[in-house]
């Protein structure tokens, strides 16, 4: 599920981004998931309907790779080891692959709710007419 984020706010302002980017890079490396070969979207909790639906919509190759990464990370975790450095996730590979789908699904759900809560008004030129 998408969390509240100040990311877009920062990205929209290049001067601010220049300041925060090194900090973000440091944080992502320190978080430790790259050392287990995971991508950032692998960390999204999947125990809810939205993410489950998003996972179903993943292209087959992406879905396969995701499971493979998770299993590899689990093995590492169980054996209390990190991957050899060459296999760590590179920052340029660490792209969002699931979040865009989740955002799409959330937008769909929001649209449905909005339409459900819609208030109807008659068109001005039809107001005087009897029925329509």
């Amino acid at each position: 599920m998408s969390r509240p984020s100040i990311g877009p706010f920062i990205v929209a302002r290049p001067w601010l981004r220049r300041w925060v980017q090194p900090l973000a890079n440091w944080y992502n490396n320190a978080a430790g998931y790259r050392q287990l070969g995971l991508k950032v979207d692998d960390l999204i909790p999947e125990e809810n309907d939205v993410v489950q639906l998003a996972l179903k919509r993943l292209p087959p190759k992406e879905a396969y790779d995701r499971v493979w990464r998770l299993r590899r990370a689990l093995q590492c975790s169980v054996s209390h080891q990190l991957l050899p450095k060459a296999e760590w996730t590179k920052p340029e590979d660490d792209q969002q692959y699931l979040s865009p789908i989740i955002r799409e699904i959330e937008a769909e759900m929001k649209e449905r709710e909005d339409l459900e809560a819609m208030v109807l008004q008659k068109r001005k030129r039809n107001e005087t007419a009897a029925g329509h």
Partner: protein
């Protein structure tokens, strides 16, 4: 004794201020066009036709030359049909549905052998909205993989199941494939799962949409819309569609050739027997024969009058009242098929099939009364004109006529042609049927259903 509301209704009505009715563009009593003539036009390369029928509703259709005949890969037409009115770049599926519901409209998409039709029926005032919607569907539908997997594929699969469960559908499609092999012979629904599991995916459908919805390949047809109005909106909303097809395909464009033959399919769900002969092309096509329509209503089988078996030869000769017989003159742009469909219990179907062949032999031998001919002509003419009056029916034919030959389907002229059919022409037509190879398809209990050879047909 009377409920209050009933007793005072008259008083209530008298007191109520008169509603101001909008001035009608044309009163019902005023002479409507009196004919079914379409006005055709062209807006930035998009062909359109309209006729201004009196009334408060409009039927608008986009007729694309993208029926199963023209699909380069099996299943594409179905895929495109089921993707109609799904999410576009500007609106989601849900939004399209809700907005149309609010306007009280009906949206519908279907395909035939030659055409893919996207149809909207709505109140006259909402014309701009629906022209825009059709323009959007044609130009900017999003062919998303998950929409395909979650919504489109199940529908195609359902159509496949329904097709397999219906002996009549199977027999009619089988007779078409016997008669025309490829092109017109391609079945309208998938007879196996292969087409849509092997050849179909969203990217392919998207590519095909760029061919099917190119300006040269579709026409807009409206019933109950003012010509000027339609012209204005079509001009405005069809900028997004490609001017030329993304790829020139020649699939299905070759002149249809009649082959004929026999096919027998075992089926446990019922019995259907179809006997087909080469027929007449549509009026806008190149081999139009009005006598085929008269022949179809003379052989007939279905009665148009309740509690009567009708005048048609098969209506009287069928083996039992529960046996259903129907003779159809299927017309396509450049060919046609005259076929008799017989369904019912196996032994009755077999018996009626013999009667059908006997009926044609009888007509060819000239053993028909003047009265029967008169009735058949009247029935054929009525059917044609009623078809024209039916707001929906002419849409597809008109659109197809525009796309194929820039000529709208003018029903008045068709009716005139039917009037001119003589007994000699009818006899000659029946004789040529028997001389040609027939297409015979039997679906059901093959132990009982006869072979074409047994009926005395050439295959």
């Amino acid at each position: 004794m009377f409920p209050r509301s009933t007793a005072c209704r008259g008083a209530q009505r008298a007191l109520r201020p008169r509603a101001v009715l909008p001035p009608q563009r044309r009163g019902l009593a005023a002479p409507a066009s009196g004919s079914f003539q379409y006005q055709a036009g062209d807006a930035k390369g998009v062909k359109f036709a309209s006729r201004d029928l009196a009334g408060q509703t409009t039927t608008l259709a986009l007729v694309a030359r993208a029926g199963t005949r023209y699909q380069p890969l099996p299943g594409l037409t179905e895929g495109l049909e089921k993707f109609a009115f799904r999410s576009t770049e500007r609106r989601s599926t849900l939004r399209i549905v809700r907005e149309s519901e609010l306007l009280g409209a009906e949206l519908n998409a279907y395909h035939s052998r030659e055409n893919l039709v996207l149809e909207a029926k709505f109140l006259r005032d909402d014309l701009p909205y629906f022209v825009e919607l059709l323009g959007e569907v044609a130009s900017s539908t999003k062919f998303l993989p998950h929409v395909y997997n979650e919504e489109v594929l199940p529908l195609i699969h359902l159509a496949h199941k329904a097709f397999l469960a219906s002996p009549t559908d199977m027999a009619v499609n089988s007779v078409h494939s016997l008669a025309f092999h490829r092109g017109l012979g391609v079945p309208t629904a998938s007879s196996s799962t292969t087409p849509y599991t092997k050849y179909l995916d969203p990217a392919t459908i998207e590519h095909y949409s760029k061919i099917a919805f190119a300006k040269s390949n579709f026409a807009i047809v409206a019933n109950g819309a003012e010509h000027g109005e339609l012209s204005k909106w079509v001009n405005q909303f069809f900028d997004g569609v490609p001017a030329a097809p993304a790829e020139e395909t020649s699939v299905g464009t070759a002149q249809s050739k009649y082959y004929g033959g026999e096919e027998r399919i075992a089926h446990s769900g019922g019995n259907a027997f179809v006997i087909g002969f080469p027929g007449s092309s549509s009026f806008t096509g190149n081999s139009y024969k009005p006598e085929i329509a008269v022949l179809a209503s003379l052989i007939g089988g279905e009665s148009s009058i309740k509690w009567s078996s009708g005048f048609s030869i098969l209506g009287n000769a069928k083996a039992s009242p529960s046996t259903q017989v129907k003779t159809t003159s299927a017309i396509y742009s450049d060919a046609g098929l005259l076929y008799t469909t017989i369904t019912g219990s196996a032994s009755h179907v077999a018996e009626t099939a013999k009667a059908a062949v006997a009926a044609i032999q009888k007509i060819a031998g000239g053993q028909i009364t003047k009265e029967d001919l008169q009735k058949a002509k009247a029935a054929a003419k009525f059917k044609e004109l009623e078809y024209g009056q039916d707001v929906k029916a002419g849409l597809e034919l008109t659109g197809a006529g525009l796309v194929h030959g820039s000529k709208a389907y003018q029903i008045d002229e068709v009716a005139k042609a039917v009037d001119g059919v003589t007994e000699a022409a009818l006899k000659a037509a029946a004789k040529s049927l028997l001389e040609n190879k027939a297409s015979v398809s039997a679906v059901g209990d093959l132990f009982v259903l006869p072979f074409a050879e047994d009926l005395g047909l050439k295959v």
